[in-house]
Assembly symmetry: C2
Homo-oligomer: 362 residues x 2
Amino acid sequence: MDPRVEDHAEIIVDHSVSVEQGDEVIVRAPDAAEDLLVALYEKLGERGAKPVRMSQSGRANRAYMHAMDPEDFELAEHALAAVEEADVAIMVSASRNTHETGDVPPEKNAAMGKVQKPIQEAMMEKRWVGTQYPAPGNAQDAEMSTDAYEEFVWSAINKDWEEQREFQEHMVEILDPADEVRIVSGEGTDVTMSVDGMITANDYAEKNLPGGEVYTAPVPDSVEGEVHFDMPLMAQGREVEDVHLTFEDGEVVEFAAEKNEEVLAAVLETDEGASRLGELGIGMNRDIDRFTDNTLFDEKMGDTVHMALGRAYEWTVGEDRERNDSAVHMDMIVDMSEDSRIEVDGEVVQRDGTFVFEEFEE
Amino acid sequence: MDPRVEDHAEIIVDHSVSVEQGDEVIVRAPDAAEDLLVALYEKLGERGAKPVRMSQSGRANRAYMHAMDPEDFELAEHALAAVEEADVAIMVSASRNTHETGDVPPEKNAAMGKVQKPIQEAMMEKRWVGTQYPAPGNAQDAEMSTDAYEEFVWSAINKDWEEQREFQEHMVEILDPADEVRIVSGEGTDVTMSVDGMITANDYAEKNLPGGEVYTAPVPDSVEGEVHFDMPLMAQGREVEDVHLTFEDGEVVEFAAEKNEEVLAAVLETDEGASRLGELGIGMNRDIDRFTDNTLFDEKMGDTVHMALGRAYEWTVGEDRERNDSAVHMDMIVDMSEDSRIEVDGEVVQRDGTFVFEEFEE
């Protein structure tokens, strides 16, 4: 067993979901993650927990959805019963081929997603974590060899999360009481927004592993300016590249993309909230040093900022503040490593990828 | 997709467990059975059923059991909740290595089995079937190439089960009203027993796939004579070969085995019922033409008889008859293809592997 797999399992069990004796645990891990599954079962055994594996196969799900009449989709009550009875859910992504369900008609994918929503929601009420195992299909998406991708994934995951939490807490202390935030990068990005009365969260790998971001919600109608997003994003199964957005009174009033602009247009038209921001996040996990076409990693990339069109997380919205709601939550990333700065209430708090509290600490 | 896999899936779904629209289905299929899993999901989708995969990994289970304190084993309530809510359970065996849990201490295996008993029992109250996918580890146990083993497995499974049911029904009609049965084979086997008042069952692949046997329960104290079992049997993880048993008043009074005789001794001493027969079965699936070290197949082998020490199945015991009870149910097989006969109430009903109703029908 690769010791990095054992470390990964230990961080999941002890840090992310804090498994205790007697916990009923659901493990969702596909076949491609077998080594991590074995390591998880060992740690769960050591702690006297009770795992049940409810895994999914991309190939099987594709065959099922193809065969189903769209009107026959129904909630699987037996799956819900298991989740409701559980204390902990560990969800591992891993794929031999990330396009395994790529030819399922969108209306069937949507129907399946809809009937599974109560199961997803029940999971979110438990101690849960979503993580990634570096399977060959995921390495391929990242345009990396499997060995290099393994090193990338485990560097991002197997770290001292208490130290990371403390590092990020500096940024929370700056952002949480702030009013105005300005993001400037290169020629294309100069945007300001209010985060007044909003709550800044510190993601140190509890629900997402890897974690590594600090995030809050903008006041919905406060966003002004333009943004050029440097990294491609996936929407409706297609890659959208070089997105430019212009905001007035919080709303997107102009948009462009070099590739798949019509997908971007469709996203923006989903509902009213889809053309406003629901999240401002600061990526602070510097072991994530490249784009790998996987939001779990990309949005935590060191020296980046991300903004999401659509739904704001409840816990980032102050009690007396409006929450931007939408069926959409689309993260888009800006590179902040060069020719860039973050200003908070007029003071520069990050320049070219270096935070003000890093200079203080030197 | 191999069309034999699709046929296998269709027989499971339509014949063995008769899946209907809206059925909540639990599929237990390990990674090594992925093709059958995909085919099953397709058939389940076509019929509008709702599958949830609750699979087990031998490697993960081994790691878990090794790590657990034997006193910490507890019922997984979330697994039980899913099973109780289900209508159908499909259990597929398949293994890349059938010895994956072979180094788990027996007391942990026993503890695990004990806490899982309510889950097993809940499954037995549903429409359920147990079947085999021809994975490389199972082919290895059978001492066959994977390709030859695939052909063997699917020949035994993918057949006209209505025709097989009718063929076996001839034997049910002989055995069900019978009193005395005598089995004679070679030098070593000449045993008589009463089946008076017992019920003969016709196994045509409802709960076991493959099926292919006709079986009943002997009157516990009626068995007299000696039996030489030609095929090895597995008990407590070890192979016992060339078993000889001598019965008086239904009880084993002498025993011998060429290999692992002490295992046989331990089985016989388990409890009072372990030294009496609980089953007499007639194997009638002639596509199973060889021993493959897998009871699911071996006990249905054409031109064989099997007798089980220990527990009798409730449904084979007449209302006013005593049921032999035991923690043990150990099937042992006698070859009936040569120099052998089955007599029922003094009449020969099978000689050298040919049934009396086959001669009639010619």
